[in-house]
Structure formats: C-alpha cells, structure tokens
Symmetry: C2
Subunit: 373 residues, 2 copies
C-alpha cells in the first residue's frame, strides 16, 4: 500500500455508530473526506455494522466479501434500502477476501466472519496497511495470538477489537468511577459470558434463532459455524465480553499484565438436553447422538502482575437469564451487575441488597411456599 | 466409656434450637431422658449455644471448659439468668479439656473453641465415645483431615459439623427443589464467605466488634485468635458456609465426591487499609507495619467425580455487603442468592432479574448521573 492512503486515513472521517464507534474514533479525528470501507463477512453481525456505516455521509462501502448467497442477498437488500451504490462483491471462493484486500481504494475493513477466519484476515489486512475493526472470537492457539500481536505492532496500532461491552453505558460509568478512585485500589474483578445461546446454537436451518435442533451444514447463521465449536472444543470460548472491560479497568498493558491463569469446565449436558427435549428434536433425532465437548460452565481464574485476580465465566448452554456477571471490587467498595447493588465505603447510597431469607418471605409464590414450609 | 452411655444417648433427648438442632436430631430421636452436655469453649459463639441448650428441659449442661476469665464470667451470668445449676468448670490450664472429657456423666460435647483446637478436641471426645457438635473452622493439614475422618469412622457417625448455613430456611427450600428435580441435573454450584469482617478482626480490646484496630493479645474475642490467621495464612480459611450446602445438594459422599481443586488469591490490601484509615489507627500505629498474608479475595474451583464444578469465594477483608453468593445451576435452571432471581426452564415465575443498564436509568442518584453522563 502507498503512503497516500495512510496519510489520508489519518485525516479521514470519524465513524461513530454502534460498536464501530470506538474503532473509528481511534482511526481518525476530523471528517475531511470519505472513508472507504470493505466488509469481510456480511452475516447478521456484518449486516448490522453495514447498516450503521451506510447511514453515514463520511463513509463509503466500496467492497464486500462473503460466500453465503443467502446472506449476500440480505446484504444487497440493505444496500438498496439505504440507496447506496452496490460495492464490488467478492464471493468467488473462500480465498476471495485476499483479492479484496489488494484494492487500492480501501482504507479500512470490518471483519465479521466466523471465528476461524479472524486471525488470517486481520493479519492479511494489516499487512496491506489497512485499519482493521475485528469482531471478537479471536485466535485458536498461542501461536496465532503472537502472530496477531506482531502484526498489530508492525501496523503501529491499526487493529481494533470490536468488543461492544466495553462501551455499554453502565460499564463506561463504572470505568469513570474506577479512574476517579471511588473503588480505591482494585483487588478483584469478574466478568463473563453468561447467555443462554441454545436457540442460537440450534435452529431449523431457515430462521436464525430456534425452531429446531439443527446445526452445522443443516443450520443457519451462527448455528452453522458457531455450534461446531461446542462439539469440538472445551474451554473459555468467548472471553472478551467479560475480559475487555475489566482489563481496561485493571490497566492491563498500561502498567499491569496478566501473568497466569487456570480454568475448569463442568460436564456438558445442556445442549444434549435441549436437543432431546425439543419438539423438533427427541431421543431419535440424529443430533441426539452428538457428544459436545464444551463444558456447560467454564470458569477461569487469572492473576495479574499487580496482584489483582480476575474471574471469568462462560455459560452459554443452560437455561438462565442473561448476565455478564460483572464485579469490580477494591479497597473502597464494589459494583456487581449481577444484583445491581452498589456498596461504597463510608457512603450512604441506597443499594438494593436484600438478604435471601428476607426475599423468600416477601416472595409470595406458591412454589416457594411449597418448598420453604 | 461404657456401653450404657451409648445406648442411653440413642434414646435420649432430641435437641432443637438454632444451629445445634441438626446435630441433636442426628443424635437421638425420642425424649425419654435428659441429655448431658459439656461445652468446650464458651466464647461468644459457645455462649449462644449454651443459652439455646439451657432453654431446653431435655438437656442438662454438666461441664464447661474455658480459660478466658472474661468469657467465663459472661458464661456464669448466662447460666444464672436461666436459673440453671452451675456446671463443673474446667479452667485450670489449656489442657483442662482432657480432664473434662473423661467424666462418666457426659453424653455429648459442643466445641466452640478457636480453630486450632477443633481437631484435637473432636478426636479426644470421639475417642471417649462422646457425640460431638463441632463448630466450623476445621483442620490445618491434610494429615489432620485424615485423623478426623478416621476418628469419625471409628465412632460410627458421632461427629457432626455445626455448619449453620446448611439450615438456613431458603437454603433448605432450595435443597428440597434440588431433590424434587426442579433444577434438573446439577452442573455448577457456587458459595462463599463474603462478609466484611474488618470490625470483627479488629476492635479496642474491650468490645467484640470495632472501636479500634487491635488484634491478638490486645484484641478481644475473635480479634484475639482469628485475626492472626489473616497474618500468617493465605488460602480459603472458611469454606464450609458455602461448601456445606452445595456439597449436600451435589450428593458429596452420597454417590459423588470432590476429585481436585485449584485456588487463587488476590493481593492483601483491605486489612492494612482499614488500620491506617481508622480513627484509632493511622500510619504510625504499630499494626500499620503488620503484613497480612491472606489475600483479600480467595477463589477456589473444585471438580466433582460426577462432573459438577463448585466455585468458592472467601472475601472477608474488604468493604462489601454480606453475601454467601450461592448459585445452584442445572439443566433446568438456576438459583442465585446474589440477586435473588429464580429462573426455571419452561416456567413463568416472576423473577427480579433486571439488566444493569435499565437499573442505571432508573437509579436516580447524583453519583450515577455524574459518571454515566
């Protein structure tokens, strides 16, 4: 790539929509010209980003790469709805993205492909001197992690992780409180990805969420590519929702670093249970024979150089309410988004903490009466 | 001990007050005669048990052992208030408890001494064929654990841990729900001891809670004996509040067992911070130089033979609301006493789950407005 693009980008448009906001605000400061963006992957997440970008006058989508005809059809519809001109489509093969990256008129790419493509595509784009907004999912080995680090360092900071939870309004408020010292010296932090994804991991092959127990070739959208990870891999498959915000609060790589970790997985029961109990599933459905490697609850403890501990929990295969389970705890108090309670040393803020027994008495449900009496 | 006492005890009175209820109900079934009880340790916890026992007509306190004159004074007052006759007092030396255990008129003992006495006293009592109600705190080495197991097995079940949380009303209700299958197959359990004990660990040497930053010889009650453990030991010092209930739910030693664990501690800051900021403390107070070994937050992951994971958290040196942090999670749903929410597969119980951002908007406190806007 030539120097012109780099200098152009430095003065190019600032993006500012949804989870691509921080990516773009890192990239440019003044809106003199139009930023030319390419999309690698236009599944449902990529389509969200695309719709956000198409609303902006300071951006132009010049190229799109995807090989799924259904998703490309939806993508064309979105472009049409926004009255934008059709970008060049790269859909000839799984390697078509490499051609796209060599375009001279490209300033940045947004990568929203299945996880296993993230590292090669990000490295490919960085080596072409492009700014990269990368959906999370990340690397599959320590080697891949180091490759990504080296590519990012060579690019002098052109890689940006699109971890949207870092920019949740309450998380940013807590970050401000951390920086302002309200929690004192930080001691322990928690986060996680605790989200019942069963109707994401399985569908009927037509709709993205639920309606069946199909996945892989017979599934649609995330059920097609995400669920096989639950079959073949056991571990913390999606750490960044929790780790992103707390790593920023703990100043990781800003005077602190993670030194070691250990993780433990429970047995895997939730996905099988879902298949055999689903109206479109059952004991005789072929997927009832699938053995899932991913433990239903995976817990990871991380130790930091400055003495903090971080706890992560990955819990996506069981019935549960959504919760990232944040906890930010220091010598001055703690915040948890699990129970929404705030407790600060020496302050009298109202908080919603209530002991369980008190709740039990107030909770007038027949089920509780049955089991408590 | 003679066979008469054993057969007597088997038909002796059933106790039923406070945390000694389960201990006693294990011990006897019908109230034919009076159960003769001895107390090892009559600090504040022992005094609570004593007052509970003195209320019963089917029990008699025949012996008491303690070497603290202040606590013995309080104990005598309690006995006087209840109009009971004064039991024999064993207070001559730290070894006086051994004499007490050889009494022929003793059926059972309740041990509420500092932690380090628990195992020798329990083994001593079991070897005298006495029923033992043992406060928690437990053993200090694997060897001690095995000694206790062997003594308990030789006694054919006369040892009972007085872990009161197992008998909290909501915990028992959840146990009933577990047994009834409402949570399906259990997958992951959590518990802990998350209790701001700083005003227990430090006091003014006169009152049991707070008023100063003294401990050890200059402290009173728990500050005298408990706080040195925070100076010298780093680990999960008090696992049973959390582990007791979830171990019962997970059928530990009833077809399941714990196979391995790993633990991680944060840095230790809370106790030092408390000392230097306390009005009776300060940077120049001698205790400001004490280095505490106990990490403020200690997290332990345990794996079970049947595939469940258990997470424990010990957090007693930081400002925080009280919470044992229970979570009982299976293929059918989960209970958490952290946020009091209940979520059951396929049911429509109301639950109090609210997303953090929604809470933030409703939470009209100036502090939040300051940091969120």
């Amino acid at each position: 790539m030539n120097i012109d693009r780099r200098s152009f980008v430095k003065t190019a448009a600032s993006l500012g929509v949804g989870s691509v906001l921080p990516f773009a605000s890192d990239m440019a400061t003044t809106a003199k010209e139009v930023l030319r963006i390419g999309f690698l992957g236009t599944g449902l997440r990529g389509q969200d980003h695309l719709a956000a970008i198409l609303k902006r006058k300071d951006c132009r989508v010049v190229a799109i790469c995807d090989i799924d005809p259904v998703m490309l059809g939806r993508t064309r519809e979105i472009i049409k709805e926004h009255g934008a001109s059709l970008p060049t489509i790269y859909d000839q093969s799984e390697e078509a993205w490499k051609d796209m990256l060599t375009r001279e008129d490209l300033d940045a790419v947004i990568i929203s492909t299945p996880w296993e493509w993230h590292v090669p595509m990000a490295i490919g784009a960085l080596s072409e001197d492009l700014y990269v907004g990368l959906e999370v999912g990340g690397a599959f080995s320590l080697d891949e992690c180091w490759e990504l680090v080296r590519a990012e360092e060579s690019s002098r900071g052109k890689l940006f992780f699109l971890e949207n939870v870092c920019y949740r309004r309450d998380v940013m408020a807590i970050m401000n409180m951390v920086r302002d010292g309200l929690f004192g010296e930080l001691i322990h932090l928690q986060g996680g990805y605790q989200h019942d994804l069963r109707a994401v991991k399985f569908n009927d092959g037509q709709q993205p969420y639920g309606g069946g127990v199909e996945f892989g070739e017979k599934g649609f959208s995330e059920a097609r590519w995400r669920t096989p990870h639950s079959v073949h891999r056991n571990g913390e498959l999606y750490p960044t929702h929790g780790l992103g915000p707390v790593a920023m609060m703990a100043n990781i790589h800003r005077g602190n670093r993670m030194t070691h970790l250990t993780a433990m997985a429970s047995k895997a029961r939730g996905l099988h249970d879902y298949i055999v109990k689903h109206p479109q599933g059952g004991e005789s459905h072929p997927n009832a024979d699938v053995r899932f490697a991913l433990g239903d609850v995976v817990t990871t403890m991380i130790h930091c150089q400055n003495g903090e501990t971080i706890l992560l929990q990955h819990d996506t295969s069981l019935p549960r309410p959504y919760s990232l389970g944040f906890r930010v705890q220091g010598t001055g108090g703690l915040w948890m988004d699990v129970n929404h309670s705030l407790h600060l040393e020496g302050r009298s803020e109202p908080h919603r903490w209530e002991d369980a027994a008190g709740w039990l008495e107030r909770y007038d449900h027949p089920l509780w009466k049955k089991y408590a009496d």
